[in-house]
Symmetry: C2
Subunit: 209 residues, 2 copies
DNA sequence: GCATCGACTGAACGATCATTCATGGGAATA
DNA sequence: TATTCCCATGAATGATCGTTCAGTCGATGC
């Protein structure tokens, strides 16, 4: 997907009450940054690239955002919050560990396939964030890991899971989802098929023999 | 691991017969580039960063290599060739599909954990390669995928594997290995434990129910 | 002991970078 | 219609980029 226009609100620089025009420009700016960061990386992208893709002058970028890094931060935060929400919603869908696991892996994979442009930025451009911003993002990442861990531990406690290593089972579940952002292509395997297959494989390697 | 000194030979720019001193500098340059590209990305790294890490002047870089991109190319090529070799060696180790799968996942994981610095460059900086260099690297990547596919298809034909989707089973096997380069930390879970757990999980999700 | 030559360097170049500044235009309000 | 002020701009700034150039240095061969 990417950034919804209703999630585009007053960032650090701009006035609190944005006009419709300003909100629209802000949204286009974020989409443009998302696409260029994803394709060329943060350091490989110039503010002129972003401005051109958004259809404005390089200067106008600074009317809405205080820096190029702020754009990366906003994209990272939105993406991480969305991913955390996806995981939490899936875990709320049932009490049965196997059903929850299937839903979580399925939805996590779906999210990374459909939002692969944003997810590439979210997962591979972390090093370009400023110290404070990075700390905030890492906190959200820890929450995602924590949700996964609670799913795995709960399933083990209930006798529904028996992975060879609970910590590495969590790592594997995350890797299967995150790495989709790296290899996914729009003209390849459709998201739904990826999600179904990955959910099935995850259930298999978590289930007791 | 990283680059062995014996794999450091005449690159594009330098004379064919290198002195011991030149070979040593070349090797330090490649190690330095590997480390900085891995930490800050290709575009986030300056030639001055690399030179400083190698203990030489920025100018000396061009005595041994024609450009910054050439360094990335040499690292990418070495890394991909090593990964392909790891996969091929593992597949040669047995005729039994399950044994081969276990060896392949184990060794592929070991390689990405031990060479995580290089593997980050290899897997996440492809976009910075020049057109010709990228084509050459992508050809090696296709060979790696092809080896994995033959393993999976062979196992299915022999009745030893029954994954929910053979194409996505290959994707999952690659993701488990590659993504280690993203999350691995030297002070975390040791490579051998990762490799064992991943091999066990892979066997579980490939085996018929 | 001297000449040679490969390895290396400091200074510099043009290009391009993120960002700022002074200013203009146009939509919304009165 | 007149006024206001947000949104946007062209031009410019200092910094930094990848790379080149004209040499220096020190080890090696005679």
């Amino acid at each position: 997907m990417s950034i919804d226009s209703d999630s585009v609100s007053p960032p650090g620089n701009a006035p609190s009450r944005g006009s419709r025009r300003a909100d629209d420009t802000r949204a286009r700016l974020l989409h443009a940054a998302e696409a260029t960061f994803s394709a060329k990386g943060f350091h490989g992208t110039t503010t002129r690239d972003i401005a051109r893709a958004a259809g404005i002058s390089p200067t106008a970028l600074y009317v809405h955002h205080s820096s190029k890094e702020e754009l990366l931060y906003l994209i990272s935060r939105t993406g991480h919050e969305q991913a955390l929400q996806v995981v939490r919603d899936a875990l709320r869908s049932s009490e049965d560990p196997v059903v929850r696991l299937r839903a979580m892996v399925h939805d996590f994979a779906m999210y990374h396939a459909r939002s692969h442009v944003m997810s590439r930025v979210v997962n591979y451009e972390l090093a370009a964030l400023s110290g404070d911003h990075l700390d905030e993002i890492l906190a959200i990442r820890r929450e995602i890991t924590e949700e996964m861990r609670s799913l795995v531990d709960g399933g083990i406690a209930a006798g529904a899971f028996d992975p060879p290593d609970r910590r590495l089972a969590v790592a594997a579940l995350i890797s299967l989802g995150v790495d989709i952002a790296r290899w996914y292509r729009d003209d390849g395997v459709p998201p739904e098929r990826i999600a179904d297959a990955y959910a099935a494989m995850a259930v298999r390697f978590m289930r007791p023999n």
